[in-house]
Amino acid sequence: MLSYDFMQRALIAAMVVGLVAPVIGVHLVQRRLALLGDGMGHVALTGVGISFLLQTTPIPTALVVAVAGSLLIELIRVRSRAAGDLALALLFYGGIAGGVLLSSLAGRTRPVSLSSYLFGAVSTVTRNDLTVLIITSVAALALLAVFGAEMFALSIDSDSAAIRGIRVQLMGALLSALAAVTVVIGMRIVGLLLVSAIMIVPVAASQQVARSFRGTMMGAVVIGLVCCVSGVTAGYYFSVPPGPAIVLLALVIFAVAAVVGARARSSAAARRSRRFAESDVS
């Protein structure tokens, strides 16, 4: 498998997504914005449509459009009376309609296919795609290294964050933009329809057994890496689409973690009850 250049690129891209997506995803889950990635995926579809129409490279175009869309969501949420989920829904519909319409218009002059962006096409990742993915991922992780602590503090208590001078709206916009970047990073691997899953499901699995934010994040990264590499490998050996394989594997890990976590919590509760009972007797 590794003797093929395209598989080498696919595995590197998978590892990049497996690393970056859960790191951003843990902040989204913490702020109860788990569906934001889905919204961003739909907006990125409009970016792909624009790139078809203008005959530009899809990844950078989708990146610009998705980031702009993420900032628009924040603006709608903060400035208008629309609630966060309503703002997200508006972008959902607008994004997918724009993507399909623009692709259709572009298809009048030359053949275009949205499906490789909707469902992923990891084997077609080019060297240029990989370079853009790596640079974008490093930039996203660097931003998170600098601002992640403020996003975390904000997610715990926005009032206390504000009185320490943390800019609540700026951090919200930055998190949305990072989600948009991650969606575009994962676009070629798992596809726009499933990319949000690789941000969220590893976090959901990890938090079943973790006791801290940091522990959840590290567990989610391990799960993300294992799923992405395993999914791409399974795609090669079993001729199945890697995106769905990655997501289904992550869901299986979530199910196992949920059972293990529930058992651990009930054991801990039983131990506490025993301790209380013993202290009452003594």
Binding site: S155, I156, D157, S160, I163, I166, R211, S212, R214
Partner: protein, 262 residues
Amino acid sequence: MTVTHSNVLHTHGLNVSVEGARVLHNVSVDIMSGTCTALLGPNGSGKTTFIRAVLGLIASSGEVRWFGAQEQDYRATGRVSLVPQLLPAANAVPVSVAEFVESAFTSPANRLSKWRHRAHRAQALHSALSRVGLLDKADRPVNALSGGEQRRALFARAIVTGADVVLMDEPLAGVDLDHQAQLVAIMSSMLESGATLVVVAHELDAMADIVDQVVLFGGVGQSSVVYQGAPSPEVLHRHLAHEPHHIHELQRPESTGSMLEL
């Protein structure tokens, strides 16, 4: 009023309106350093609104001076912290007690220097958790703590950075008597170490021994300060009888407090 060197917070003619309706009217309050001030009053009298206004969390008009400076400057000092009534949100991802308390160190001022002070922070975290008796629970998810323990975690977060002004929103509400005594003991130790406490409360019972000044909010419709001064028994009696709007019937107490006519 003149602002002295020990004046931590000074408001003059502070007004707050919510959706066109004035909820706080002409509130003038002075908080001196190293003291414990209780903000008392019935539900809806604007105690919490006052705290949010002086912290700049909601829009207000009038004068607010922190440490003799202009309103927003307190943010840069890192000297002010807030203890909300409850854990603000049930986070989806587990947050350990240590992470929760340590989050108080996060601010734009140390955005790029946060990696340099790890040893100092670890020491401060250890000290704060020791003071509130949560050292053995540092690794537990904060949402898994009991109500009283969660309050202590909020206290630890307020003191871990060395903030010397702590605003507390009903820190004893809904806590049993044993835990109230523990929390008051922690508040007392904060005062001994030189901190200034501003505490929103419904009653003084549990913390009567540590309160130096009472600010009583009341009034029909829009709320204002009806008494500021020492916690005189007469005022407390009226307050506990839930009749702050009759406060003008009281004799001016012998204490340093001043009675305001409604």
